[in-house]
């Protein structure tokens, strides 16, 4: 048997690659093992129709860590982020509302819908920005050790608290009030225009098995926001999010990381409660001093480690992680650009996210269907046309549309996700879009529909939950993945979590991978 690696990273998603790159830069020998024949995990750009490429999963960036971007010099490895402006256009009956990066420009766009809302928009942006600053500070730091936080933990928490306090009492009170609110309550507090409320709520809802009236949903709006960004900000990658993974892989390889694809891990070998090896399907055994898994926590513990090697209380916690898949994806190869009569200003208007979220009731009704195990009759849609940012993704003059569809629950009350169900979902999505862009159905050259079951099967993502665990307040920060184990280490010595299932959670942020690598290095220097 070969000499053990210093670290094995399971999964070549963007977090696994980030962790691998940092560890290798610290001098460790690292191998990444990925089950798929391509790297990228949920950030991957693949051909889905001859000549047409699309982001199979994530089609925009979470707030990607600027520090990781700098540390790993990702620009030199080809990662180019773009910030479309307007970031979003929200479709409404015959009209459209654009959300720009500049609040005053957005206020002008809101004015035709409600002059009062237009006047309130800048103040809303400030309130959200204050709260987002707190969320960002939490995101940038590792969770404290609980119930016995160390001095460093306390100092860090104190600094976050002080930072918040410095914004003034009112800002602090506003932030604390906002965190557990529902999106609907928050937005009803501020605005009267249903179109505006739908557009903002739609920026927070992706991935949640909750409607805008669900408690704690306001937090999600903040979670997906980069510091300093106006609500609803969108970041794209030229060439698709797969470029982010390729850039990370480039940086990792340059640091000495070996990346193996088509290498599915079947089992994590545990001896004397320490993780010592991974066993690949086919039987190959790779020994290592430590193992970092970016597979989701349920997959990691219940399948790869197996409950036999774990304390029953811990197994109970892991089993109770809520991972209800809520999303499907539809990809369209288009012969021509969809024309939305409600939108002036030409193609540039469509470079960000095109949203079908025309109001809070619409969104809540879409969720109502899913609440009882059905697929939304009229789903909430977030579409991106990446060919407007990088025409090379499709043949000349042709386009691609990537659509995140919500709600399509993993657990159906009746029936299963078979072919007919999948096509019915595709039909419903095209029909809804056609209400706003009548030329769309005829422009469709090819359609790919990925149900939550498909997401699970392709990515090994339990229940197809796009964030490796719902981003609800009780599953975040020091409670992610489960209370007591939020510091990347696990009850199995030498086994770490480094994916979206760990703090700060889902989205293309690179932060779970970054923090996990730091936790490994911290443990190494402590022992």
């Amino acid at each position: 048997m070969s000499a053990p690696f210093d670290a094995i990273v399971i999964g070549a998603g963007h977090n696994g690659l980030t962790a691998a790159a940092y560890l290798a830069r610290a001098g460790l020998s690292v191998v990444v093992v990925e089950q798929r024949d391509v790297i990228g995990g949920a950030t991957v750009t693949e051909e889905f129709h001859p000549g047409f490429r699309v982001d199979t999963f994530a089609h925009r960036m979470g707030p990607f860590s600027p520090r990781v971007f700098e540390d790993l010099r990702l620009r030199t490895y080809g990662l180019e982020m773009v910030w479309p402006d307007p970031a979003r256009v929200a479709m409404a009956d015959g009209r459209a509302l654009s959300l720009f990066r500049d609040p005053s420009q957005t206020a002008e766009a809101i004015r035709p819908f409600s002059s009062g809302d237009a006047a309130r928009w800048p103040a809303f942006c400030r309130t959200v920005a204050d709260a987002a600053r707190l969320v960002d500070a939490v995101r940038q730091s590792q969770p404290p050790r609980l119930p016995d936080p160390g001095l460093r933990d306390l100092l860090r928490l104190a600094a976050i608290g002080l930072g918040l306090r410095r914004r003034g009492k009112r800002a602090m009170a506003e932030t604390l009030r906002l965190l557990p609110m529902s999106l609907a309550d928050l937005l009803d507090d501020w605005f009267e225009s249903d179109v505006l409320k739908g557009a903002v709520a739609g920026a927070g809802l992706p991935g949640l098995m909750q409607g805008p009236r669900g408690a704690g949903t306001a937090y999600a709006l903040l979670h997906h926001l980069a510091a300093g960004e106006a609500p609803g900000g969108v970041t794209l990658v030229r060439g698709g999010t797969g470029r982010a993974a390729e850039a990370l892989a480039g940086a990792a390889r340059a640091a000495g990381v070996e990346i193996r694809t088509s290498a599915p891990v079947e089992r994590i070998g545990v001896r004397s409660d320490a993780a010592v090896e991974v066993v690949l399907a086919g039987g190959e055994v790779i020994p290592a001093r430590r193992i970092l898994s970016s597979a989701d926590p349920k997959r990691t513990f219940l399948t790869l480690v197996g409950p036999e090697a774990l304390d029953p209380a811990f197994v109970r916690q892991v089993r109770h992680i809520r991972m209800r898949g809520a999303c499907a994806k539809v990809h369209l190869a288009l012969g021509e650009l969809p024309r939305f009569p409600g939108i002036g200003g030409g193609d540039a208007e469509l470079r960000g996210a095109v949203m079908v979220a025309p109001g809070l009731d619409y969104l809540e009704r879409a969720f109502d269907d899913a609440k009882y195990g059905g697929v939304s009759e009229r789903p909430f849609l977030e579409a991106v046309i990446p060919t407007l940012t990088d025409p090379s993704l499709a043949p000349p003059g042709r386009h691609v549309m990537s659509i995140l569809v919500q709600y399509a629950p993993y657990h159906l009350k009746a029936g299963a996700w078979e072919a007919a169900r999948r096509e019915a979902l595709g039909d419903a999505v095209v029909a809804v879009l056609a209400e706003y862009a009548p030329n769309l159905p005829a422009a469709v050259l090819h359609r790919q529909v990925l149900t939550p079951l498909d997401l699970e099967q392709r990515l090994g993502l339990t229940e197809g939950n796009i964030f490796q665990g719902e981003m609800a307040l009780d599953q975040l920060f020091f409670m992610r993945p489960v209370p007591g184990w939020a510091r990347y280490g696990t009850p199995v010595r030498g086994l770490y979590l480094c994916g979206a299932g760990a703090h700060p959670g889902g989205g293309v942020t690179a932060l779970p991978g970054y923090h996990a690598a730091r936790a490994v290095l911290r443990d190494m220097s402590a022992s």
Binding site: P307, A309, D311, P312, V315
Partner: protein, 395 residues
Amino acid sequence: MLRTTPFHSRTALLCQAQNWRRWAGCVVASSYELSHDREYWAIRSAAALLDVSPLYKYLVRGPDAARLLDRIVTRDIRRCAVGQVMYTPWCDEAGKVLDDGTITRLDEDLLRLTAAEPNLRWLHENSAGLDATIDDVSDSTAALAVQGPASRAILRDALEADLDSLRFFRATRAQVRDIPLTITRTGYTGDLGYELWFDGRHAERMWDHLIAAGQPYGLTPAGMLALDIARIEAGLILIDVDYVPARKALILARTSSPFELGLGWTVRLDKGYFVGQRALRAEQARPPTWQLRGLEIEWDALERLYAEAGLPVELPAAAWRTSVPVYAGDEQVGYATSGCWSPLLKQYIALAHVRAPHTAPGTSLAMEVTVEHRRRRAPARVRELPFFNPERKRA
């Protein structure tokens, strides 16, 4: 609601003393006669028949049955051969004892666990990913203990079973008329003895049959009071008395690890994962703070204490189950949790939790005694357990 055991129609008729107690929700006889003396002596000099049906009993079945139990208990169940019985405690994640009982391997894929507390949920929680089914057969399985020097002779007459080759902590199947049963050479008396396990529907017939077969040998139904003395002599701990199961402990200090209960011999740290392994491994690396020990209260000194009050020694009529301070000089270094006068050994003995370094056999300590309403300290000697360990137990 008071529940009864499958033998209630028989024990109720015999229980002249109407002296009942609750055990796992069932009423069982404390003693059948007004005094438990005769029942105790039956255990040690003839044979006693004890209704132990209130024990919780679980049948674990399937290819992973042994693995399931192995991941719960401290002993290595994979090494438990078919026809073997193992006594073992089991712990929570912190390595603190939850319960103790026996595991009988009835077949490759079939094991029976006995327990003092309900354990169904715990078994289920630990069965994730394992191919094993769990049946709670506590109510449907009757259990009788036949304990004492004459027990083998009685069962030889009563049953068709190969008792002579049945070694200590082994099990065998047997048949009485149409009643199938398993016999284990186990018990809670530290004597030669057997336990019989069978379907509760046959309980009354089995009882009558054994009483008849045992008559020539002096087989005597015995209650819990007699058993309590025998088990103290045998150095066998009792849940809720000598230790607090971790789930019921209000404070951490009330919990005990197997090492602290004299059960270190059951802890196989070198086997695969089991609940509490990590904590026990860490604990084993440290010298233990607490140890379970025997105490023998010195007779002459006790006599002097009573003489000062103008009295002869007054001994407890039955085994006591209260916490009694134990001292080294003026410092309290432990507490006794049960004690009795041993009619057989003619010694006043107790089970005690003693703090290091006062645990070496022979160490002189003192136990609190109340003499004529006054608290006194009676000198006592630390003893290795068990107090009584006859050859015939294993022979």
